[in-house]
Subunit: 191 residues, 2 copies
């Protein structure tokens, strides 16, 4: 089976983005992560800041409520709808790698796509979060738990699937134990 579209869900600071970038390079197609914010902003007429705010689960924040005013749909739902259309369109265009944003759920009826999940243990990720984003007042472990909780909640809200359950993915890998390069190798070996 040849896969032309690969979706990668990941826990925070697992190197999932590096893996996605390397897989896209070998696949010879683009990778979409933050790029989806820019595309959604263009498509919707909303600012990139609004899209980024909408990528979070409905909160009561002032910024969030400001952007929601004047629409029947909460901002996060508007963003989800726009990004869903964009993701489906990109997947139809040709080989690409899409990171996060419930793409696994959105493309589930597509024949030639591969669903990947990347995870790693707390110690590996705690080291990485400090290397990449520096120290904060909160402990690295608490920051990671917060981020994971948000991703899981967002995914569950829009898909009703269990984020991180092996059975939702064709392949799930521990990047901390196997190494980032080896994970990219294994995914790339599938096409």
């Amino acid at each position: 089976m040849k896969y032309s579209v690969i979706t990668i869900g990941r826990e925070f600071c697992t190197g999932g983005l590096d893996i996605a970038r390397e897989v896209a390079r070998r696949l010879g197609g683009p990778m979409y992560d933050k790029e989806l914010i820019t595309l959604a902003a263009k498509e919707s007429g909303l600012s990139e800041q609004a899209i980024a705010a909408g990528e979070k689960r409905p909160s009561g924040s002032l910024l969030y409520n400001l952007y929601t005013m004047g629409s029947d749909l909460p901002l996060s739902d508007q963003v989800f709808v726009v990004q869903s259309q964009i993701i489906r369109g990109l997947a139809d265009k040709g080989p690409c790698v899409i990171v996060g944003r419930c793409a696994d759920y959105l493309l589930q009826n597509k024949a030639d796509y591969l669903k990947v999940f990347i995870h790693a243990d707390m110690a590996f990720r705690a080291k990485r979060i400090v290397e990449v984003y520096g120290e904060r007042e909160q402990s690295p472990e608490q920051r990671l738990r917060d981020k994971d909780k948000r991703r899981a909640a967002y995914h569950r809200f829009y898909t009703d699937m269990k984020w991180g359950d092996a059975r939702n993915y064709h392949i799930a890998l521990d990047s901390g134990a196997l190494g980032i390069d080896k994970c990219a190798d294994m995914i790339a070996s599938l096409y």
Copy 2:
């Protein structure tokens, strides 16, 4: 990282046993599945029939109660204790593949071992259960759900881990989508 011991957890009728056998062949070591029943029988003095009954979660069945009589521990706990000792001993002896029986949990403090989970969708497994075990009065889907439920319950009872959660394994693969041979290739590529 070289892995000398590989544990394989699997949903029923995913071809997990074929994958384990092929991986063991390439690793050049033995594979333990039903063999653990024979070893546990020898070690404990119980019959193989008693061990097989004890591998299920405590039930109220007559056979189960018969074997439990005269011991302070329920039969399933006796079997778990004996098998745990055997599994730890085998893992210390050298390269091998161990299928099921909470080996992922028992060996979690061992450095050079790889935890694998194999799953597949209902359609793939329903076809396989009929091919391998024939038709029954119950639908293939119901038989699979029953088996999975037992395995999950057994695993949760003794380990308190979530059976099938990607984060409990180094690598989790969909044998229905990827193919049994490809799964064996990918696992073998790790040593």
